[in-house]
């Protein structure tokens, strides 16, 4: 107990933040939200008491910042252990080959691939939302309606940021906030707008929304090209095999004008078709690895830009 007793709610929250320093930012945001909700409710329930008096009693009822921080870390560790998939029982470490192809049994590789496809839609939506909102805010700022419009726009962008966080946690497994950042004490329009303008997270959130368009396009293109090319290469031997058996199929396969015709003839043999099949399988497997890596990387970007550090 080296720290002095906090004299105000803000001091209490600062101490709690300090006690949780270095922990997952998402966990910190949740803990701060819960504490602020409790402290403000306690303050509202006893209007006769001053904030400092109330906070002196808090160590006995809600708990000192250190105790509360410890409770969150304990519970978080226990829940994570309980929810984690049980470790594989095999005592030997899997071979490199099994690790390479094991990506197909990783749920997060599949969900990350889905995220890459979905990112085009969400990216277009976020980009449109951010650009339209900013442009209209600037345009309407000369009218009285500009103030509530800007507040509504930033409020909505915080909700979207939470939704995007939940989506990312569901699809990539990265821990994201389960509560929005606490709005703090209710204030007038002017004070709220100034606070929003000075909050770095407002701008990083909007930056994330704008960035999602190019990222979403890139993710989508890589995922679609990878899946179709890999599937086409894998199916090519089957297609040619059925044609060889006399099934009436149009002449399919890959046709490149720029590829040397001699190479195409060489590939149009049982050995060549087997090679095409192997390349297709390798390509799809690499795509799954790439999807998982993109999922991790994107979750990092999202955490940096959407969650206060």
């Amino acid at each position: 107990m080296t720290r002095p007793t906090p004299r105000s709610i803000d001091e209490y929250l600062d101490q709690l933040r300090a006690a949780l320093a270095g922990e997952d930012p998402a966990l910190v945001q949740d803990a701060l939200y819960d504490a602020e909700e409790y402290l403000r409710a306690e303050l509202a329930a006893h209007p006769d008491r001053s904030e400092a008096d109330m906070l002196e009693l808090i160590a006995g009822s809600y708990g000192a910042p250190d105790e509360v921080a410890a409770a969150y870390l304990d519970t978080e560790a226990r829940v994570r252990t309980a929810l984690a998939t049980p470790a594989r029982r095999s005592s030997t470490s899997p071979s490199a080959l099994r690790r390479f192809f094991g990506v197909f049994s990783d749920v997060h590789a599949w969900t990350s691939l889905f995220f890459m496809l979905l990112a085009l839609a969400t990216g277009i939506f976020y980009f449109t939302f951010a650009v339209t909102g900013l442009a209209l805010s600037a345009g309407l700022s000369i009218l009285i309606i500009g103030l509530p419009f800007f507040i509504a726009f930033i409020g909505l962008s915080r909700v979207l940021s939470l939704v995007e966080g939940r989506l990312i946690e569901a699809l990539t497994g990265e821990r994201m906030p389960r509560r929005p950042p606490h709005p703090g004490v209710p204030q007038g329009f002017g004070a709220r707008i100034i606070a929003m303008l000075r909050d770095l997270r407002t701008w990083t959130t909007l930056g994330y929304f704008v960035l999602m368009l190019p990222l979403g396009v890139a993710y989508f293109v890589v995922a679609v090209v990878g899946v179709t090319l890999g599937a086409a290469l894998i199916l090519a031997p089957l297609w040619e095999g059925l044609r060889a058996l006399g099934v009436a199929l149009p002449e399919g396969g890959l046709q490149f004008d720029t590829v040397d015709p001699g190479l195409l003839t060489a590939l149009d043999s049982p050995g060549g078709l087997a090679l095409i099949f192997v390349v297709g399988v390798l390509l799809l497997t690499l795509l799954m690895h790439l999807a998982r890596a993109v999922g991790h990387l994107h979750a990092r970007i999202a955490k940096t830009l959407l969650v206060a550090g």
């Binding site: 819960d34 909700e37 403000r40 409710a41 809600y62 708990g63 105790e67 226990r78 829940v79 309980a82």
Partner: protein
Amino acid sequence: MDDSHARKFQKELNAGLVSLVLLSVLAASPADLYGYEIAKRLQKANDGDPLFKEGTIYPVLRALSAAGLLDSHVVPSVAGPPRRYYRITDTGRATLADWLGAWRNTRDFVNRCTETGSP
């Protein structure tokens, strides 16, 4: 030194029991409750020396909610910040029934073991 042993023992006892108490409070309440209300109800029931700090129930509520035993929704409040209300789910009620069975068995067993010798 004795005090720290006692506190550690209390903390280990609380680890599972806080979840049981929270589920019971929510199962008994006809209306949805928010964190502060739950904390105050427990404080009333826990007159005198508190067994646990109110701040420790929030992460447990969150964990129960993540496990699907509780449902929650946020309601903006007229005075002060928005409140997160909790309600017990059907899974939560089934779990509570299981836990209560386990708790009664444990309680009877502990009583039998610790009270042997007394008439």
